[in-house]
């Protein structure tokens, strides 16, 4: 188990580097630069900018500078920053995970931007995640128990709807009805609890629908298995059969879905943040790409890829708690 954990954690390093490298390559291939504007810059100014940001150096040189910025590098004598992790190796100062300054938002570090905007996305994301789990899980469970009943058909039809209506349609519809029509909740912006309601519902709908379908399918599969017949033959009632014998096997497919789902929800979804004018990370991320704000894009990519991999690792470990047949070696 310990060696498994260690191996998986070590594996995150090359994977994240690969993701960062690919992203960097794509940014470089894409036309345009961060200093582009309507007017064409005089060549002398452009050369100055290039020099300042090291863009006059060969590409591999730039690449290694970038890698050093994203991971670890030694700090210059006069360099001061409070971001990332810093420590001394001999006389040299080393800093890690300091993604540098944004090119667009001058004077602001990438770390600071992520720190400032992540909480908005994470708050909505985590609430949406819990909501999706509760609603989707219980809907799927009941649908499986009353298979082929009105309830089953109804909830599965609803789930199908949830899957097929995109959130950029669902969001505005909810706003129209509940904010602009009934005046029950605010239409947008960050504020009190009431402001959270519509974005959370919009965000969680598709996940709830997916979890409902997975739960139902998983439970139905398990309810047909031999050991459930054994449990019934022992004289257990249906509630015990379900809660004691069936649920662990039934929710395994759901668990494998929830890891990546949580990562996606935490990182925020651009669409929902746009619709409800929430200053979340997703919004910033898209802006950074549009602005060719390379340090900011790479910083967010590095942060998110590590987050996704950590969550996947947690999912894999939780399999072991659910299914005793899984051993980590």
């Amino acid at each position: 188990m310990l060696s498994f954990l260690l191996r998986r954690l070590l594996l995150i390093v090359p994977m994240a580097l690969l993701v960062v490298t690919l992203t960097w390559g794509l940014i470089r291939i894409a036309p345009g630069t961060f200093y582009d504007s309507e007017k064409k810059l005089p060549p002398a100014v452009e050369a100055n900018i290039k020099k300042k940001y090291g863009l006059d150096k060969p590409w591999y040189y730039q690449y290694f500078i970038m890698l050093g910025n994203v991971t670890c590098r030694t700090m210059a004598e006069d360099e001061t920053t409070l971001n990332g992790i810093q420590f001394n190796v001999g006389s040299a100062r080393v800093k890690c995970f300091d993604f540098g300054d944004s090119l667009k938002y001058e004077g602001q570090s990438v770390n600071e931007i992520i720190r400032r905007h992540l909480p908005y996305s994470a708050t909505i994301g985590i609430i949406a995640y819990i909501l999706a789990l509760i609603v989707g899980g219980s809907a799927g469970l009941f649908a499986a128990l009353r298979q082929n009943s009105i309830y089953d058909y109804g909830s599965m039809a609803l789930a199908m709807l949830g899957l097929s209506v995109p959130n950029f349609v669902l969001g505005p519809i909810l706003v129209l009805i509940f904010a602009l029509g009934l005046y029950m909740v605010p239409a947008a912006r960050w504020g009190g609890i009431l402001n959270l309601i519509l974005p959370v519902i919009t965000l969680s709908a598709i996940y709830a629908a997916y979890i409902a379908r997975l739960t139902r399918a998983g439970m139905l599969e398990v309810m047909r298995s031999d050991y459930i017949r054994t449990a019934r033959a022992k004289g257990l009632n249906e509630t015990s059969v379900l809660l004691k014998h069936a649920i662990r096997g039934g929710i395994i497919p759901v668990v494998s879905f929830t890891g990546p789902a949580l990562a996606a929800l935490l990182a925020g979804t651009v669409v929902v943040e746009r619709i409800f004018s929430i200053p979340g990370l997703g919004n910033i991320f898209i802006q950074s790409v549009l602005n060719r704000d390379e340090p900011l894009t790479l910083g967010i990519v590095a942060f998110l890829s590590v987050l996704v991999m950590l969550l996947n690792l947690i999912v894999d470990i939780s399999y072991g708690f659910l299914d005793p047949r899984i051993r980590y070696e």
Partner: protein, 345 residues
């Protein structure tokens, strides 16, 4: 042991060892699925191979055909060592060497019609003179399937019919040697007899040689000229079918035979059963010495340390036990007489 003209297949010390586990942090273990099997299969015979599950009998069958790679030893066919042939040369030999599988449900591609399944090997080896369909239909008739079924899919057939499809596929390339791996154990009783009769008829008609792998001693006894008994990767007894049933030498074989229930209440009521204790030990760490000593009623100290060799105890009757030899073939009598480990001659 030189290759003899009467032998179709000649195995010399054939091994299949798997390594499991073994990363940076964990120690690798070796599973000795087949651990040094020396065995001849004669032209035109049916050699039965019996043993409990996990004894390596299926692995041995697959290793001869290189469906599992042998890790040591030799397997001669036609003067060539199959175990060391390059892949391309092996592919040519495949035409002569076919396999019938246990589970007719799992071994047929559900998305192919019967015609495609049986026709595939014909096409692969370019054997069709005249249309492929004509050949396929002929094969279907041979195994007792109606020609009309040629366009149907495997799920439209019963278990017995699917096994017939599997047999037709194996026959399609006119093989000389067929490994039949538990071909009847997934079938109903009334269908088992049909498949056994079919296999016998085909053997006579097409001059086939079979390695018939089964845990069903009644079926093995019925079909086989000679029977090899396998335990934890090793052959422990080898004899003509009649002898092995009438006078088994090894305590393990005796227990196997006695475990098979007889469909006759009067015999069942009176006969004495040898019930083996416990399960087959794991092939990961097989017991030292004689591998059967943990379950053997006659085990003595020497059995825990000496690895018994297969020796001819009676004419054509081989056994691997240190407590019997040609002069004293009865282990029970030897045990009563207080004889310990005996010298082999």
């Amino acid at each position: 042991m030189e290759t003899n003209d009467n032998n179709l297949i000649s195995l010399q010390d054939l091994q299949v060892h798997y390594r499991i586990g073994g990363g940076i942090f964990s120690e690798a273990k070796t599973v000795k699925a087949v651990d040094g099997v020396t065995l001849d299969i004669r032209k035109g015979e049916t050699l039965g191979l019996v043993g409990e599950s996990g004894c390596g009998k299926s692995t041995l069958g697959k290793a001869i055909l290189r469906l599992t790679e042998p890790t040591g030893g030799k397997a001669f066919y036609n003067g060539k060592d199959l175990a060391h042939l390059p892949k391309s040369a092996m592919r040519e030999q495949r035409k002569d060497l076919q396999m019938i599988f246990q589970d007719p449900y799992a071994s047929l591609n559900p998305r192919m019609t019967v015609g495609q399944i049986i026709g595939e090997p014909i096409r692969t080896f370019g054997l069709a003179n005249g249309g492929i369909d004509a050949r396929v239909q002929e094969l279907m008739e041979t195994v007792g399937l109606s020609r009309r079924f040629i366009k149907r899919y495997p799920h439209e057939f019963s278990g017995g019919q699917r096994q017939r499809i599997g047999i037709a596929r194996a026959l399609a390339v006119d093989p000389r040697f067929i490994v039949a791996d538990e071909p009847i154990s997934a079938l109903d009783v009334s269908i088992q007899a049909q498949i056994m009769n079919l296999l016998e008829r085909l053997q006579a008609e097409k001059d086939l040689t079979y390695l018939f792998i089964s845990h069903d001693l009644r079926a093995v006894r019925h079909l086989s000229d000679r029977v090899a008994v396998m335990y934890l990767g090793k052959i422990v007894e080898l004899a003509p079918g009649k002898d092995i049933y009438a006078e088994p030498l090894m305590p393990y074989t005796k227990a196997l035979i006695s475990a098979v229930p007889v469909p006759d209440p009067e015999i069942e009521a009176t006969r004495e059963r040898i019930i083996l204790k416990g399960d087959v030990p794991s092939p990961i760490n097989p017991p030292a010495g004689c591998r059967f000593h943990t379950r053997c009623a006659y085990a003595i100290d020497a059995c825990r340390t000496t690895v018994p060799q297969l020796a001819e105890i009676k004419p054509q009757h081989f056994a691997a036990c240190i407590r019997i030899n040609a002069d004293n073939p009865n282990i029970h009598a030897n045990h009563e007489a207080g004889l310990g480990a005996l010298q082999q001659k």
